[in-house]
Symmetry: C2
Subunit: 341 residues, 2 copies
DNA sequence: GTGAAAGCGCTAACAG
DNA sequence: CTGTTAGCGCTTTCAC
C-alpha cells in the first residue's frame, strides 16, 4: 500500500493518467461517471500524489511560508495554528520562519527561503507585516503574499486586520466612564506598529471626552513585561500620579500590576489597570486584567484562505477582511479613589 | 539569476552534471581541483538545487516532521527554534504538527503526514514522545525518529533527555534545607510523563531526609495555571497545611501564588513556593518563583542533529544525550514560619 | 575519478 | 471530454 502511483490508478480506473491528474487537481472537463470511477480507484489504492513529482512538473512547491516576529509566544502559536488549520486540508504545507524585525539578515533569510524552498506564497504576521523591505523583496520575486494586521501601505497587498484603534478607544472610554481623568499609557514597541494604533485609540478617547492629553502620562514601552514594570514605576513617581494605567499589551499590564503590588498599592481600589490581547497573563495575575480579545486565529485562517485563493486564481483580490476585537472586563478596574475623582 | 540549473553549472565548470551532483551531495571521488571548479561555478551562478527534483529522483522529501503536544507556549516555541536552527543549515525543512495526546485522530494525522508529505524523519517532543502508538506507527512505516525527553520504553529509539528527577530532588532538598517538613506537591498532567519524574524527585528527597511521605499533601494537577490555583486551595485548607508547595511546573506554581495572595498569605514568609521550567511566568509574578531551568532549545538541537545523522548514515545510533537542568533560586522561598519549623 | 543514459511521478501542452 | 507526448531537474545505475 501507499506505493500506488498515478499509472496504477489509471489502469484500475481504465482511463489515462491525464484523466487521473484532472480528477486529482479538480479540473473541469471530466464526466461525472468517469470522475467517480477514478475517485474510487484512488480510494481503493490509497493513492497519494507524490508532492515532489507534482512540484517538479508543475513548478510549484505546495509550501506556504509564515514569517513572524515575536510579539509573544501565544500570539505566534495562535497564528501558526490558524494557518495550519487552513492550509493542510488544501494540500499545502507550512514552512515557518521566525525573523527579527531589526535583523539586517532578514532580507537574506527571506531570499534563501524563496530560492531554496521555492515557497508558493507567504504570510506575514506582525510586526513583520510592516517590514516594507521584506515585502518589496517578495514582490520583486513575484511571490504572492498576504499581510496580517498591517498598519502602513495597506493598499499594496491583500491583508486581514482587526480594529485595534476602535477597541482601544472603547477600553479607554470604560476607564473614563468610571471617572478616571488621569490615565497613564505605556506604549508598545515602536517597531510593532499595530500596537501603535492602540495609543491612537487612547488619545482619541481623551479627545472625545474633553480630557487634555498630558505627555508626562505616556511612557514608551517595548511590549515586554519588564517595560510594564519600569513604566509603572515612572508613572507612579509623578507628583500627581495617574489613577489608571493603560498598557498597550497584557504582558506590560502584568508588569504594571507587579510594580503596583511591590509598591503596596491595592488594585483596583488605588489603581486601575488595563491591557490588550487577552493573553494568558491577563487571567493569571491577581487581580485579573481587563483587556481586549482579538480573533488572532481567525485572522490567520482568513489570511491563509485569501492566499490560497490567490494561488488558485492567479490574481490578488483585494477584499480586506476585518475581524473585530471585543472587550473583556475583569477585576482590575474600578472608579478612582474618591479624593481623586 | 536563480534560474540556474545543474546543466548550467556543469557547462560553466566544464564537467558533467553527475560531477556537479557529486559535489553538491558531498560525495567522495571528486578530485580537489575539480571540486573547487564546480564550487566556484555554483557560487557564480547562485545555483540552488531544486528540492522537488532532488526529492523525485532520490525518493526523499528533505522535510523533517516535528510532532508536539502543548506543554506550554514557550516550551513549544523553544523546541521549534532549536530544531529550525539545526535543520535549515543542513538543507532540511521543518513541518510542524501540533497533536493532542488523547486525540484518537493523532494516528490518522500522522499517517497522512507520512504518506502525503513523505517526511524523511520525525522528532517527537513531550508529551507525544511517550505516545507509544504514534511511535509504533512511525516505526512500522520505517520513518526514522528521535524522541525528546521520553520516560518509557527508552531503549526503543534514540532520544535526548534532561535530568528532571535529579533537578527536582535538588529543589526539594533546598526546601528541606530551609527547614520545611510539610511540603505540598501538585503533580503534572498524568499524560505528561516527564513531569511525573518531578514527583519522583520530590519523594526521593523526602526519603533521603527521613521525612515520611504524606498522601494528603499531594494534589493531582494538569500543568495549567488553574490547577495550581485549585491545588493550593485544597492544600491550604488542610488541618495542618504545608509550609511550602512544590508545583510540577511554573504555570501551576503561578496559580499557587495567586491563590496564596487571594487568601492574604504573604510569600515567602508564610508559604514558600517552587516550580519547574523557568517559564516567563516564574519571573512575572511577585514574588518571583524559584524554579529549574532546562536546556530545552539545546535538547531540540541535539535531537535534530541525531536525526540528521541517522538519515545520513542510515543507521540509528544510540547515543542518548543528557542535557542537565539547573536550579534558579528566587524570592519565593524562605524558612518556614518559626512556629512551624 | 568521471560521464552517459535512464528514469523518478507528475503536469503541460497539444491532439483527437 | 479524453489521451499522447514531452519534458520538469535531479539521482541512479553502470560504463569508461
Amino acid at each position: 500500500m501507499s506505493k500506488a502511483i498515478i499509472d496504477d490508478v489509471a489502469a484500475r480506473a481504465g482511463v489515462s493518467i491525464k484523466t487521473v491528474s484532472r480528477v486529482v487537481n479538480r479540473e473541469p472537463n471530466v464526466r461525472q461517471p468517469t470522475r467517480e470511477r477514478v475517485e474510487a480507484a484512488i480510494a481503493e489504492l490509497n493513492y497519494r500524489p507524490r508532492l515532489s513529482a507534482r512540484g517538479l512538473a508543475g513548478n510549484r512547491s505546495f509550501m506556504l511560508g509564515l514569517i513572524y516576529g515575536k510579539p509573544g509566544a501565544h500570539y505566534v502559536l495562535d497564528i501558526q495554528e490558524g494557518v495550519l488549520e487552513m492550509c493542510r486540508p488544501h494540500g499545502y504545507e507550512l514552512v515557518i520562519h521566525p525573523g527579527e524585525f531589526r535583523d539586517g539578515d532578514l532580507a537574506n533569510e527571506i531570499s534563501d527561503l524563496i530560492l531554496d524552498r521555492r515557497i508558493d506564497g507567504v504570510l506575514l504576521s506582525p510586526p513583520i507585516s510592516d517590514h516594507m523591505e521584506a515585502i518589496a523583496l517578495l514582490k520583486d520575486a513575484g511571490i504572492p503574499l498576504v499581510r496580517i494586521a498591517p498598519t502602513i501601505d495597506k493598499a499594496a497587498h491583500p491583508f486581514v486586520e482587526t480594529n485595534d484603534l476602535d477597541a482601544s478607544f472603547d477600553l479607554a472610554e470604560v476607564l473614563i466612564g468610571l471617572g478616571h481623568r488621569r490615565i497613564g499609557f505605556i506604549t508598545g514597541h515602536p517597531d510593532h506598529r499595530a500596537v501603535g494604533l492602540r495609543f491612537e485609540g487612547y488619545r482619541k478617547a481623551l479627545r472625545a471626552n474633553g480630557i487634555p492629553f498630558q505627555g508626562e502620562l505616556v511612557v514608551v514601552g517595548d511590549n515586554r513585561f519588564h517595560a510594564g514594570e519600569e513604566g509603572a514605576r515612572q508613572l507612579l513617581q509623578l507628583a500627581s500620579p495617574p489613577t489608571a494605567i493603560f498598557a498597550a499589551n497584557d504582558e506590560m499590564a502584568g508588569g504594571v500590576i507587579k510594580t503596583a503590588l511591590v509598591h503596596g498599592l491595592r488594585i483596583p481600589e488605588q489603581l486601575s489597570v488595563v491591557g490588550f490581547d487577552d493573553a494568558p497573563i491577563s487571567r493569571q495575575v491577581w487581580p485579573s486584567i481587563s483587556t481586549i480579545q482579538q480573533p488572532i486565529r481567525d485572522m490567520a485562517k482568513t489570511a491563509t484562505s485569501i492566499l490560497l485563493e490567490q494561488l488558485r486564481s492567479g490574481e490578488a483580490e483585494q477584499h480586506p477582511s476585518m475581524h473585530p476585537a471585543r472587550l473583556v472586563l475583569r477585576e482590575s478596574i474600578a472608579p478612582p479613589p474618591s479624593g481623586k475623582a
